[in-house]
C-alpha cells in the first residue's frame, strides 16, 4: 500500500544524490525541485502542483536522485514503491502515456546536446547524412547495405541534392550486391537487384532506348496470365535499368500488384507504402491503397484492411470501379466477422 507522509514547510523530502525507489504524488501543499542546468550549472527550480508525480525517473531508472526536493509549505504526499507505482500505472495507462511523452521529449533534447558536443560543430543535415551512410557502405564494398541506404535516400529525397549521384551508385551497388551473392534470398531490397539486375546487365543499353515500354507491356501480359514471378523479374529489370520515369512508376505499381498476388503481403504493404511516399500523385494511387487493404486482409488484419478500404472509398467517386470493389471487400469483411 502506498504510504501517506506529511512534511512541515521547508523539509527536505530527498536530497540530490540519494538513492531511493520511492515515487511520490503530491496530495496537498507545495513542493519544489531544485537542480542545476547541465550546460550552465545554474540552479533551476520547478514547482510541483497537487496531483503531480515526482521522483519518477530516478526510481524507475534506478539511479540517484537528480534533484533536491523541498516542501515549501506544509505538504502531504503519497509514497509508492516501484511495484506499487507499476500497478497503478498498469491500471491507468494514461499515466504511462503522459510520462512517455514527457520523457521522450527530454531524451530527445539531451541526446541532441550530447551529439552536438561529440560532433563539435560539424553538424550534418539529415539529407546529406543519409547519403553519406550509403556512400560509406559503398566505399567499403558492403553493397547490400549501400543499396538499402541509397534507396532510402531516394525514397525520401527523390529531388535531393545528391539524387543523381545516389541513383548512379544505387544501380552499381545493386549490380554488385546481386553478382556478389547470386543465390541470396534476402529482403525485397536485396532480392530486387538479384532478380533483375543480373539479367539487366547485358540489356541495359537496349532497354534504355525503349524506355522500358516494351518490357512493361510484356510484364503486364504475364500478370494477366497469372505468371507473377516471371512478371516480377521483368519489372525489377525495368526499375533497375532506370528506364523512362513514367514506365518506372508504372512498373513499381505492378511490382506491388504481383507481390499481393504472390501472397507476400508484408512485402506488398511495404512496397506500396514506399510507392505512395515516392509518388504521392501516382495515377494508380487508389488501386494501391486498395491492394494494401487486400494485403492486410490476407494477413488476417481486418481493422487495418477496413481502414484502407474506407480510405479508397473516401477518395473515389461512388461509381468508380475501385470504390465498388472496396465496398464489396468491406462487406465481405463484415460478413466474415459476424
Amino acid at each position: 500500500m502506498p504510504k501517506s507522509i506529511t512534511y512541515k514547510a521547508n523539509s527536505v523530502i530527498y536530497f540530490q544524490g540519494d538513492q531511493s525507489d520511492r515515487i511520490f504524488i503530491l496530495k496537498s501543499g507545495k513542493v519544489l525541485l531544485k537542480t542545476q542546468d547541465i550546460e550552465t550549472g545554474k540552479e533551476i527550480t520547478e514547482i510541483i502542483n497537487t496531483g503531480e508525480f515526482f521522483g519518477v525517473k530516478s526510481a524507475l531508472g534506478r539511479y540517484i536522485r537528480d534533484e533536491t526536493c523541498i516542501s515549501i509549505s506544509d505538504a502531504e504526499v503519497l509514497a509508492f514503491t516501484v511495484p506499487e507505482f507499476e500497478q497503478l500505472a498498469l491500471s491507468n495507462t494514461r499515466i504511462i502515456m503522459k510520462m512517455l511523452k514527457v520523457f521522450s521529449n527530454q531524451l530527445r533534447r539531451i541526446h541532441h546536446k550530447v551529439e552536438n558536443m561529440l560532433r563539435k560543430g560539424e553538424e550534418v543535415d539529415a539529407e546529406t547524412g543519409l547519403y553519406k551512410v550509403g556512400d560509406y557502405y559503398f566505399n567499403n564494398r558492403q553493397f547490400a547495405q549501400a543499396a538499402f541506404a541509397l534507396s532510402r535516400y531516394l525514397t525520401y529525397y527523390p529531388q535531393g541534392k545528391h539524387a543523381t549521384q545516389a541513383t548512379l551508385r544505387l544501380q552499381e551497388a545493386e549490380r554488385y550486391a546481386a553478382s556478389g551473392n547470386p543465390g541470396s534470398k534476402g529482403t525485397p531490397q536485396q532480392a530486387r537487384p538479384s532478380a533483375g539486375a543480373m539479367q539487366g546487365m547485358t540489356g541495359t543499353g537496349a532497354s534504355r532506348s525503349s524506355g522500358g515500354a516494351k518490357e512493361y507491356y510484356e510484364a503486364v501480359g504475364l500478370i494477366s496470365q497469372e505468371k507473377y514471378q516471371e512478371a516480377l523479374n521483368i519489372l525489377y529489370k525495368i526499375i533497375s535499368n532506370n528506364s523512362d520515369p513514367e514506365n518506372m512508376a508504372k512498373a513499381e505499381f505492378e511490382v506491388g500488384r504481383c507481390l499481393t498476388h504472390l501472397k507476400k503481403f508484408d512485402e506488398a504493404i511495404r512496397h506500396f507504402t514506399a510507392l505512395i511516399q515516392k509518388y504521392p500523385k501516382h495515377p494508380d494511387l487508389k488501386e494501391a491503397l486498395f491492394l494494401i487493404g487486400k494485403s492486410y486482409e490476407g494477413k488476417g488484419d481486418k481493422p487495418w484492411a477496413r481502414s484502407f478500404y474506407e480510405k479508397v472509398i473516401s477518395l473515389s467517386q461512388e461509381d468508380e470501379p475501385t470504390a465498388i470493389r472496396a465496398k464489396k471487400a468491406m462487406q465481405s469483411l463484415t460478413g466474415g466477422a459476424v
Partner: protein, 215 residues
C-alpha cells in the same frame, strides 16, 4: 517470453544477418523489440563504422521514434538472422491495450537513458581528457553497488578501454594513453577486462576541481 508476443504476431518482421533495419538520418516512425537474434547499432563517423551497442532478445531499439518522427540517430543492422516486432504510432495503442507492461518497460528504459545521457554530457563538458576518463569511473561507481565497508575506496570495474573511450568521447588509443599514465601514477591497475581504481575519492577530488574551474 514468446507467449507474451502471440497477440503481436502480425507486427513481426524478419531480417537476415547483415541486413539494415533502419539507417541513421532516415525519418523514424517505428521502434522494434527483438524476439530472437542480435542487432548491432552503429554510427558511421567520418570513415569509420563505430559499433555503439549490441542488443539481445527482449531489448528495444529505435524507441525514440515513438512519439516524434525525428531522424534516426544511428543505423541498426541485423547481426544474426533476427525476428523483430515492429511498432509504430498506429499500432502503439494496440500494444498499450494488449501489453501495457511492455510500454511501462519502455518508460523505464527512457528514465535510464535520460540519466545516462545527462551524465555523459557532464563528462563531455570536462575539457581535460584525463578528467573525463576519471569521471567515467565515477559514473560507473555511481551505478554500482556500494562496498560494505564505506571506508574502502578501492573499486573494481568490469570495463574496457573501448567502453571508457565511448563514454568519454575520445579515441580508444587516446584512452589507452590516459589509462597508462594513470597506471604509471599507481592510480589504476589494468588487467584483462578489468580496471581497478585504487582510490575513488582521489578521482572524485580530481574531477571536482576540474569541474569547478570549467564553469
Amino acid at each position: 517470453m514468446s507467449s507474451d508476443f502471440e497477440t503481436f504476431k502480425r507486427f513481426g518482421v524478419d531480417k537476415k544477418a547483415g541486413e539494415i533495419i533502419f539507417c541513421e538520418f532516415e525519418p523514424g516512425d517505428a521502434f522494434y523489440l527483438i524476439q530472437s537474434g542480435k542487432v548491432k547499432i552503429v554510427k558511421v563517423i567520418g570513415e569509420v563504422e563505430k559499433t555503439i551497442d549490441i542488443l539481445n532478445p527482449g531489448e528495444f531499439f529505435g524507441e525514440m521514434a515513438l512519439l516524434e518522427q525525428a531522424p534516426r540517430t544511428a543505423t541498426a543492422l541485423a547481426l544474426t538472422d533476427v525476428k523483430l516486432l515492429e511498432f509504430n504510432q498506429q499500432n502503439f495503442d494496440i500494444l498499450m491495450q494488449g501489453n501495457p507492461q511492455i510500454v511501462l518497460n519502455i518508460l523505464k528504459i527512457f528514465s535510464k537513458r535520460i540519466y545516462d545521457q545527462k551524465r555523459r554530457f557532464m563528462i563531455l563538458k570536462l575539457e581535460e581528457i584525463p578528467a573525463r576518463v576519471a569521471d567515467v569511473f565515477l559514473m560507473l561507481d555511481e551505478n554500482s553497488r556500494k562496498p560494505e565497508d564505506p571506508t574502502d575506496m578501492t573499486r573494481t570495474f568490469n570495463t574496457t578501454p573501448e567502453d571508457i573511450a565511448h563514454w568519454a568521447g575520445i579515441t580508444v588509443s587516446k584512452c589507452v594513453e590516459v589509462l597508462n599514465s594513470f597506471q604509471a601514477q599507481r592510480r589504476v591497475e589494468i588487467s584483462q577486462g578489468k580496471i581497478v581504481v585504487k582510490n575513488i575519492a582521489d578521482f572524485q577530488r580530481f574531477v571536482n576541481s576540474r569541474r569547478r574551474t570549467n564553469t
